[in-house]
Symmetry: none
Subunit: 188 residues, 4 copies
DNA sequence: TATGAATGAGTATTCATTCAT
DNA sequence: GATGAATGAATACTCATTCAT
C-alpha cells in the first residue's frame, strides 16, 4: 500500500522505471541497516542488480538518492500525523496517537529506522516537525481536564517516540504489551 | 572530573600522553557531530594537531579509537546507573532516575551523543544494557504500591531516554522544565 | 555564407537535418572554447537541445563529430588558400596573403580556434599543409626580386600565423592596425 | 641546469622527494604530448612508478600538478625574458631576442610545448605576459632609428613566437637556418 | 529521425593503514 | 613517542556508447 503512495507521488513528475524502484528499495534497506555513510553505491547497485551508473542517472548523487528516500519517509510521517490531526474527539485523538506506534507494519520499519537515524544529522533534523501533532494532543489533554496539558502532550510524544525506537531496534513483539498499559494509563 | 575517571582507567594499562588525550577529545567531538563513518582519520589528526600515524600507533585502528571512546562512554553510563542502583529508598531511587537526565553537564553531551548514535549500530547495541536499572526501578514502583510496576519502570526508562535525546539535540534549556513535571507526576 | 558552403558539401552525401546542424554548431563552439577532451557529449547534447544518442546516430562517435567539424575547417582553409594560389600577379599574391588574416569574420573564429588547437595533436597536424601557399608566395617574392624568397615566404607565413593566433585570442581590434604596417613593410 | 633552478626554488619551501620529481617529470612529458585532459593520473602514476595516491598527496589535485608544472614553465620564461631585458645596447637586445628561440635545448621542449598549449586555456592565458619584453624591444628599435618601433617590436615578437611553435612541432633542425636570415634582416 | 534507459570502463580523489626513520 | 612518505583498496561519480522503442 505504501508503495502505491510513493509511486503515485512520483508519477506526477516523472515516469518511474522498475529499476529506479529497485534502487530505492535496496538503498532504503541498506541505509536503514548500515547507515548512509557505510553503504557504497556499488553495494546498492549490486544488490539492486543494476549498473552503478544508473543510480547517478536517476538520482544525480548518492545524497540525491537519500533525499528521494527521505521524501518518501516524509509521506509516511504525514500519513500518520494526519490520523491524529483529523481526530475530532479528544479521547479519539489520544487513542490514535498511541495506536499508530503499534500498528506500523514491520515491512515499513526500514523507512522509520532511516528516519530516526537521520534525526541525528543536523541537515535532516527539524525540532518542530511534530509541533502540529503536539499542539493537537495538548488540545486533547486540555479538553479532558488535565492540569498541565502542554507538558502531558510533550511527555506522551517523547514516550511514544522512545517506544517506537525500541520497537524498531528490538522488534514489535517485545513492546506490544505496552499499548494496553498506555491506554489504561490515560483511561482510553 | 570525568577526565579524571578516564585517565585513571587508562593509567592502569599505559601512560597516557597529552597527544593521546587530544586525539580522544577531537575524535569524540567529531564522531559525535558527524558520525564515525563520516570522519576521516586525517581530519582527527589535523584538528588534534598530530600526525595521522600517531592515531594508529596509539589505537591500532580507527575502530580501536572508537572502541576506546566507547569504553569511556561506558564509564559514564555506569556512573549514572550506580547512582540509581545504590538508592536504598524507593522514592529516592525514582528521584535519582529522573534527576540524572537533567543534571548531565552540557560539556559531556558529546559522550552521550556518541552513545545514542552508536545504539543504531548492531555491534554496539545491547538491549539489556539498562536491565539492572529497570529492575531496580521496578522494585521501587513495587514498593510504592504501583499496580504494574514492571510496565511503569519500562515506561519511565523510555520516557527519560527520549527526554535525553531531545536535550542532546535541542539543548538543555528547552526541556529542563520537564523535570518538575515528572517529579510531580510521580509525587516525588 | 560559410554555412552555405558546409551545407552544400554535406548535402552531397546525406540530408542534413536542423538538429544535426545544431549539434555541429554547439560542438564547434564548445570544442573551440574548452577543447575536445574537456567537452562531454552530454554537454553538447544539452546545449543543442537534442538527446545524447542523436549525436552518435549522426556522427558514429565523438571523434566522428570532431572529424566532421575538422572537415568544415578544411573547407575554410582551402577557401583562403585558393585566394592566394589564384593570384596572377606577385604583388596581388602578397596582398591577398596578408589580407585574409584581417578579413576573417569574427563569427568564424571558432572554426579557426579549433583548427589551431588541433595543430597540437599529432593526428591532426600536417607540417606541409601550407606548402602550396608558401611555394606560391616564394614565387611572388622571387618575381619581386627579393634575395632569399624562400626564407621571406617562410617568415611571412609564420608572422601571419602568429598574428592570426593573437587575433583569435585577443580579438580582432587589438591587432588590426598591423595590417597597414605589414602592407607598407612589403611596399604593397 | 634548469633542473637546478626548479629544485632551488622548490627547496625554499618544502623538501622535494625523488618521487615527487619523478611525478613532475612524467606529468610534463605526458601533458606536453597528449594534453592535460587526455592524460589520466593513473597513467602518470604508472609511468612514474608511484602509487596514484602519491600524486594527490603531493599536489592536492591533478590541477595542482599542472599548476606546479606551469610555475616551473614560468621560471624558464622569466629566465629567457631577463636575458633580453638586461641588454644595455639596442643591437645586443635584438640579437638576444632572436637568439633565445634557437638556443633552447630540445630537452626543454616539453616545458615550452605545455606552455604554448596552455595559452589556449583562458585560465592560463595572459595577453600582457610579454609586455615588458616588447617594450624593451620597442626601445631597441627606437634607438636604432626605426620609423615605427612599436609595430616592429610587435611583429618581431609574433614572428619569433611562430618560429618557436614551428620548432616545437617540427624539430629544431628544420628551422634553424631562419636565425641567420633574421639576423641579416635586422642587420645584426 | 529521435529518444530515454541503461551500462562498462574509466577517472579523479579519498581513506585507513604501514613503514622507515 | 612521533612523523612524513608512501600505498592498495575503495569511492563517488563521469563518459562515450548501445539499444529498444
Amino acid at each position: 500500500m505504501h508503495t502505491f503512495v510513493s509511486e503515485y507521488l512520483l508519477n506526477n513528475k516523472t515516469k518511474v522505471t522498475e529499476k529506479q524502484q529497485k534502487i530505492l528499495a535496496v538503498a532504503l534497506e541498506l541505509f536503514a541497516k548500515e547507515g548512509y555513510n557505510a553503504v557504497p553505491t556499488k553495494a546498492i547497485a549490486e544488490q539492486a542488480d543494476v549498473s552503478e551508473a544508473l543510480i547517478f542517472r536517476h538520482f544525480k548523487s548518492k545524497q540525491g538518492l537519500l533525499d528521494a528516500l527521505y521524501q518518501q519517509c516524509g509521506e509516511r510521517v504525514q500519513f500518520v500525523k494526519n490520523s491524529v490531526l483529523e481526530a475530532t474527539e479528544p479521547n479519539e485523538c489520544l487513542r490514535r496517537a498511541i495506536h499508530w506506534v503499534f500498528t506500523i507494519d514491520e515491512e515499513e520499519y526500514d523507512y522509520w529506522k532511516l528516519q530516526y537515524k537521520l534525526k541525528w544529522e543536523d541537515s535532516f533534523y527539524d525540532p518542530n516537525k511534530m509541533k502540529d501533532v503536539i499542539d493537537k494532543v495538548t488540545w486533547a489533554f486540555e479538553q479532558l481536564g488535565y492540569e498541565q496539558p502542554a507538558f502531558e502532550a510533550q511527555l506522551l510524544e517523547k514516550t511514544l517516540d522512545s517506544v517506537m525506537i525500541s520497537m524498531l531496534r528490538d522488534g514489535k513483539q517485545v513492546h506490544i504489551h505496552l499499548r494496553e498499559f498506555l491506554l489504561k494509563k490515560y483511561s482510553l
